[in-house]
């Protein structure tokens, strides 16, 4: 082989090796793997994978749209009932705020182009109990600690009841109110495109 050919072969070999090794993050790859497959019948989109760690895919590691914050809001710590219409308000260190309302799968998400927060963040959720009218003052739950760097609720709020390692998933009320929360419906009272009606992903 001519010298030029040898040099070219070396470049190809080294380049190939770098390409094969440089983009792999075993931690992120394992997190992606943990999320499992999509639930049958639920399209990839705003209603999918409720309760899961959104940032596993939407944190910039995969090709999915990048979020700065995302999660699912549940009614109580013990009931697999997402809440629709809860207003999640994020306030950053500079006092800038951004609000998103949860959909029928209980999901909310904030895209990079919508809000570029300066950490740490404070999170507040405003909501109404089932049966309350729009004239009723909202209930408000404020997160007990700062969010210092992870925008995905499920990074800390692992599905299940509170424990020594996690506060449990994000919930509004400690127990069901007298008029209980129920699994939300979708548009026009039809079935929501995601959420537990399609089978729990938790």
């Amino acid at each position: 082989m001519r010298p030029a050919g040898i040099i070219l072969a070396c470049f190809v070999a080294v380049g190939g090796a770098l390409a094969a090794t440089s983009c792999e993050s075993p931690v992120d790859a394992a997190l992606l793997e943990e999320q499992g497959d999509e639930v049958s019948g639920v399209r990839t989109g705003e209603f999918h994978r409720y309760g899961q760690d959104c940032m596993a895919c939407h944190g910039g590691y995969s090709s999915a749209p990048v979020f700065v914050a995302a999660g699912t809001v549940f009614a109580t710590p013990d009931d697999d009932i997402p809440v629709s219409g809860a207003k999640v308000i994020l306030t950053d260190a500079l006092g800038n705020t951004h609000a998103e309302t949860t959909n029928c799968a209980g999901n909310f998400f904030v895209q990079e182009r919508e809000f570029e927060p300066q950490y740490p963040l404070n999170a507040t959720i405003e909501y109404r109990l089932p049966g309350e009218s729009s004239q009723t003052p909202v209930h408000r739950v404020v997160m007990g600690s700062r969010i210092n760097r992870e925008g995905g609720c499920a990074f800390c709020h692992v599905a299940g009841p509170p424990s020594s390692t996690s506060p449990g998933w994000v919930y509004l009320e400690p127990t069901q109110p007298s008029t209980p929360f129920t699994v939300p419906t979708g548009k026009n009272g039809g079935q929501c495109e995601g959420g537990p009606s399609h089978g729990s992903v938790l």
């Binding site: 950490y119 404070n122 007990g144 600690s145 700062r146 969010i147 210092n148 760097r149 992870e150 990074f155 800390c156 509170p162 424990s163 020594s164 390692t165 996690s166 506060p167």
Partner: protein, 176 residues
């Protein structure tokens, strides 16, 4: 043939001696006694004044997405981080005495020799990673936690200097 045998014999002897020496060295280095496993005393500023300083660190650094997680080298237990006891629940109940003690050990055990120098007045607080990172004097994934005028930094620095500024600590705890 006779020479070949001598060479082989000498080679085997060499291998045996080398192997024996290596084994002795490794076994000497590999033995850990109970005394080695015991906790060591690490020089550390005031234990009496630590609880309020720990609260300041728990709030700014000890959330579950930062140092309030088991995998962190500077691990901080507490109400809003991981709990030391399986019987304690995140977000419920105050930080326990055992958690406070563990947090103090974490801070002082991170760089024990440097901390000892700070405690005796022979070292500067800026030599400590635990003071450089939150002020971004060194790269920090969690960004800048304190400016030099922040009450949280005044609180922590005063503890390191040996006289806690209670007012600064309380002022930091009042911040959102």
């Amino acid at each position: 043939m006779k020479h070949t045998g001598r060479f082989i014999g000498a080679g085997l002897l060499g291998v045996a001696l080398f192997g024996g020496a290596a084994t002795t060295t490794l076994s000497g280095a590999g033995c850990v006694t109970e005394a080695d496993r015991a906790p060591r005393d690490v020089a550390c500023p005031s234990e009496v004044d630590w609880p309020i300083v720990s609260q300041v660190l728990e709030k700014s650094c000890g959330t579950q997405d930062c140092h309030g997680a088991p995998a962190r080298p500077l691990r901080l237990y507490g109400r809003n981080g991981v709990r030391l006891s399986k019987d304690s629940i995140v977000g419920q109940g105050a930080t326990t005495a055992d958690e406070l003690a563990q947090n103090r050990d974490s801070v002082c055990g991170l760089e024990p020799e440097l901390m000892a120098a700070v405690v005796t007045g022979d070292g500067d607080v800026d030599t400590l990673t635990v003071t450089r990172k939150p002020r971004l004097l060194e790269a920090h994934k969690g960004g800048r936690v304190w400016l030099d005028a922040s009450p949280g930094w005044t609180c922590f620095q005063s503890w390191l200097d040996g006289a806690v500024d209670q007012a600064a600590c309380e002022a930091d705890l009042q911040l959102p």
